[in-house]
Symmetry: C2
Subunit: 344 residues, 2 copies
């Protein structure tokens, strides 16, 4: 039997070589009639394209996976759309995969890579403590978006990251309370340890207190155990029962919104009796009463830069890169000045 | 040249027929070494599996696409996770595709179908006015989740739907205000027409007024032009400047949250001077001050039932089906009783 070329198939189908090529590459821009005809004739003639059977079986894809940890995190919703546009603009397609906060993003990414033959991965939210062994299962470039490997043992050249400096930004939030005359400052966090974003922001809180010569006091720290509003509400209620801070630093906007509710239900007025500041800058925190004062993360820039870096890595134009971005203070009505230090 | 079978390939690779089959089907459960070896030997021998070249080129997938319209709609976030679990449980994989409210879900679905060879589609959010011509581009079963074709000309046998009865539920919300003694009842909607969910809920509002022998008054209707909180805020502010309703029906929880904020900023106390009720049952509306009274949609049931129906259609066990589900009144603190009709 003669070994046919793609030109022979095109001739037999009375079509162009490029149409046959589009069928082989499963390109959408071919009519169903022509697709069927080309495949029919290929089959009848036992055609195998000369660039190997492999390209037929395992189709090369241009997929970039975005693994989102924490499905209902409203902050992440803001980033996903920007990522999709940016990924499209680079000529790739986005495969969105959402996992719950209890699942492991590295395992999910490794499994996706096995199943989908990805070009690269963006991890939107994740742990700060990866080990080299854990990431060995990832064989494509990946970017950690909104976090970096602060508590891990990963070589900087092994991954990329785009995030805010969580500890520095938390310190900045608490310093804002201190500048406004607050001395008894509570913290609403998930936990104090665990190599998490909560630990980093808690350490920023402690750092600001120490810099302001204020003694850290455990009874002022509310550990919610999660980022859920229900848990933040309960933890704040307990905090307000056992102590009387004049202000509260919450590690996320949605936790702060729950804290405002807990204060209201405890008969404590925000900001008159309790000032509250947070980090995130969610749309919804503009509509709580009072409007939340918060450090707004550069959501669009975080998303776009993550895609830029991944595209650069895939084009072999850059090496793995680590970027810290700054927040912007969005003043609402949830913080009042107690007394002005350094008043003239 | 002899025409080889899959058994011949297995023998040449010194492996089992099922391993070769797994390679052909691109199953992940094959070592990379074996996969490479099998493909190598297939290529050397110009192997074409006898079940047609087509299955090689256009791989049959088990993908169900979920097209989500309105990326940052927090109500939809609640449904997506449930859908993913249910789709997995049926042995399919979910391809999540998010589009903005300005994009057309049918066009997006048709394009996805061309690109990905889907088994079926769930449209999460969409228009109520499809024409037969528009859906002609969709060649697989599809389920409209959270809406149905009220304003369209589509044959019921052409699609499936799982939704609440928007008009009836809106009527129920407004009747609740009437039962609580309210006579001057405003509405916060997107628009009064356009074949949208907003039109349906607006018509339910009008229906309840008429049933309660209350005269509809255009000056009590705030058209925000979108479902965005910013637009809902502005529209409510204008409403409260031009009239003084004792209560307000908002067509969504997030619009109601913005309305509470607008009232507060206008110096109007909720619920003392203005009662507010909505439809949705978002997590976040439990944490506004006061807690929102709302008709909670059965989010989990809507999601699960949509997947059940699609799986039934794919298994040819059922015909296209249409289901209305009921909401549940979640009493918060945003509605007060003005005077009790029928008091003993």
């Amino acid at each position: 039997m003669e070994h046919l070329t793609i030109k022979d198939i095109a001739r037999l189908c009375e079509t162009s070589v490029s149409t046959v090529s589009r069928v082989l590459n499963n390109h959408p821009d071919v009519s169903e009639t022509m697709r069927t005809k080309v495949l029919e004739i290929m089959r009848e003639n036992h055609f195998v394209p000369n660039n190997s059977a492999r390209s037929l079986v395992i189709r090369e894809s241009d997929l970039i996976a975005v693994v989102v940890r924490g499905l209902t995190n409203p902050f992440f919703s803001m980033l996903i759309k920007t990522m999709e546009y940016a990924i499209d603009a680079y000529g790739y397609a986005m495969a969105l995969h959402q996992i719950s906060s209890s699942e492991d993003e590295l395992k999910a990414a490794a499994q996706l890579e096995r199943e989908k033959r990805l070009k690269g991965i963006i991890l939107l939210g994740g742990r700060f403590n990866y080990s080299p062994m854990e990431v060995a299962a990832i064989n494509v470039p990946f970017v950690c978006c909104t976090y970096t490997n602060t508590f891990g043992a990963l070589d900087e050249t092994r991954y990329s990251s785009v995030a805010i400096d969580d500890m520095a930004e938390a310190r900045r939030a608490v310093e804002y309370l201190i500048e406004n005359g607050h001395r008894k400052i509570g913290a609403l966090i998930e936990r104090t340890d665990g190599g998490s974003i909560s630990q980093l922001r808690y350490e920023g809180y402690i750092g600001a207190l120490e810099k302001g010569r204020l003694k850290p006091d455990n009874s002022l720290v509310a550990c919610a155990g999660s980022f859920e509003m229900a848990d933040a509400y309960t933890a704040t209620k307990a905090l307000l029962e056992r102590s009387n801070p004049t202000s509260l630093f919450a590690i996320s906007d949605s936790m702060a919104i729950a804290a405002i509710k807990a204060a209201a239900d405890s008969g404590i007025k925000v900001p008159d009796q309790l000032s509250i500041i947070a980090i995130d800058g969610l749309e919804q925190s503009k509509y709580c009463v009072p409007t939340l004062t918060t450090l707004e993360q550069p959501a669009d820039d975080l998303a776009r830069r993550s895609v830029d870096i991944l595209a650069g890595l895939l084009g072999a134009e850059i090496e793995n890169t680590h970027v810290f971005m700054e927040t912007r203070l969005r003043e609402g009505g949830s913080v009042i000045e107690l007394l002005k230090p350094n008043d003239p």
